[in-house]
Symmetry: C2
Subunit: 316 residues, 2 copies
């Protein structure tokens, strides 16, 4: 019986490939370098052959696989399986992703925006699975959003919803990769967090935060936990702007859960606690106690599980 | 046959009551003073008896009326028919609106947030009726929002969605009636428009805009049309902030139409044209040409028609 699915989490640096059952359990996992610079065709070929190798090692035939789900950054056309454009993948313009993948694997493939896949994964396999109204927010290289409304993924007229990370919350704010100023992404993505810390370098060059050669978002949360001044200022700013964003999402969608994933969410309580406290400051009385903000418990595997959930649940 | 419905547009100053057929044609209309200061019970009694009087004058029995739909500002519980709270109606807290109305009229009654009713009315009876993805924005005493996604009204987990007017787009912006700073409403509601003009009084006391004893939003658009400086500055600011808001809604929902109603929308092209131009500045390339921004053509009757559409279509 066709019960298993492949979930692929396509990232700017590495791509995770998983073999899952219908309960979302990962039976096998493999991580490969994405090598964006080699171009669209090579990236997809490498992924396709990695899938075939995994099936061979597991003694599975193609016929035992229900499908391949792939979560990709950017705007995707889920019907044709095409990536229309993706900021971090310059040559992926109208790139026929599922067509290429099916040509190599001969397995039915589906593509979805990676943050939409994350939200679907939370809905299908997360802590609050099958909760009817969920907002998923991914904080990573970019900030992505996916929204489940009444058990349905919000896709919009062209399938481009829901770009929550590009909600402008400060029109004179920092320049975002998308060309606008003051998007949530320009405060809360991993590179934006590092940029905001570096902006303090002139003022506080003596901070031990700057002793590291290459600063990461993780370093900033780690030193903030030790009460280092610059890191605390940065964490204060990003949690304030994220709280503005989350209160906006809540007033718009009236969800039951706002679930935060992506690499930045690994910061844990030092991110979550101020977010909960600050978001409540902006809320209407009627919205208080209607929802919870939580960090994803799917952790590293949220992308893979979300991608596999497309195969199982996309037509629900 | 029960084919007709009553639509009630409950406003802070006046309440419009309409008798409609299933095509959304208004067969009879009556406007009464709301008299909020007389308290919830009196307001609803007056509305109820006005409905009964209208039916009597039209020689209609209660049995010929499918239901009464009422659009109310604030957070409503559509299931129990209660207004939970409404900023401009201080004593309406957990006010049993439909229960009271049914007690007097003996006609099945439904309540919906007024901006949700507006969006439903546009979807049911507007220029682009039965378009599947519509964002309705009402610019009046407040700024309300209603969203139709795939032919369904977005209501959220508790029925409080979609407070588009309270999206914060400038956290250090003007104080909004809701207690937050820099909500869309704090720029684009009628009172906010007047407030922003008055803020220029000190700088430009000689402007003939200030010759009027009591300034209205309409005055400001009228004088902006004549190239008066202060009015032009105000119109420029509100269209910029509204454009930020609309681009946010579009990136989030990927709709086919953004339809603007409410008293302020009567300003016409001097509002619409800059909105269209400025919104496009903030959009991702993939979102361009995916939607149109338009002013409602239901004009004065949008509220009544929206309220009646609840009776006909709320369970769809």
């Amino acid at each position: 019986m066709k019960r298993k699915a492949i979930g692929i989490d396509l990232g700017g640096t590495e791509t995770k490939i998983g073999l899952l059952n219908i309960h979302g359990d990962i039976l096998k996992k493999k991580i490969i370098a994405t090598n964006v610079e080699k171009g669209f065709k090579n990236v997809i070929s490498k992924i396709g052959y990695s899938v075939l190798e995994m099936l061979k090692n597991e003694n599975l035939t193609k016929e035992e696989i229900l499908g391949i789900g792939i979560g990709s950054p950017g705007s995707v056309d889920r019907h044709s399986g095409t990536v229309l454009f993706s900021p971090n993948f310059p040559d992926w313009q109208y790139a026929p992703l599922t067509e290429q993948l099916e040509e190599i694997t001969k397995i039915k493939s589906f593509v979805e925006n990676d943050a939409n896949a994350f939200a679907l994964g939370e809905w299908a396999f997360g802590k609050h699975k099958r909760c009817k109204n969920i907002i998923g927010l991914t904080l990573g290289t970019g900030v992505g959003g996916g929204v489940i409304i009444n058990d349905q993924l919000l896709v919009g007229a062209n399938g481009f919803a829901a770009e929550l990370g590009h909600m402008i919350v400060q029109p004179e704010g920092p320049l975002c990769g998308c060309g606008s100023h003051g998007c949530i992404e320009s405060y809360a993505s991993a590179p934006s967090i590092v940029r905001q810390a570096m902006e303090y370098y002139k003022k506080f060059p003596e901070s031990y935060l700057f002793e590291k050669e290459k600063l990461s978002a993780k370093d900033i949360f780690d030193t903030a936990r030790k009460n280092e001044l610059v890191s605390k200022l940065v964490v204060d700013k990003i949690t304030t702007m994220l709280a503005v964003g989350i209160s906006n999402y809540v007033h718009i969608f009236n969800p039951e859960y706002v679930i935060i994933g992506g690499g930045v969410s690994k910061a844990g309580d030092i991110l979550l606690n101020p977010l909960i406290e600050k978001t409540s400051r902006y809320l209407w009385p009627s919205f208080k106690d209607t929802f919870n903000i939580e960090l994803s418990n799917l952790v590293e595997d949220a992308g893979i599980k979300g991608a596999a959930s497309i195969v199982y649940f996309r037509n629900k």
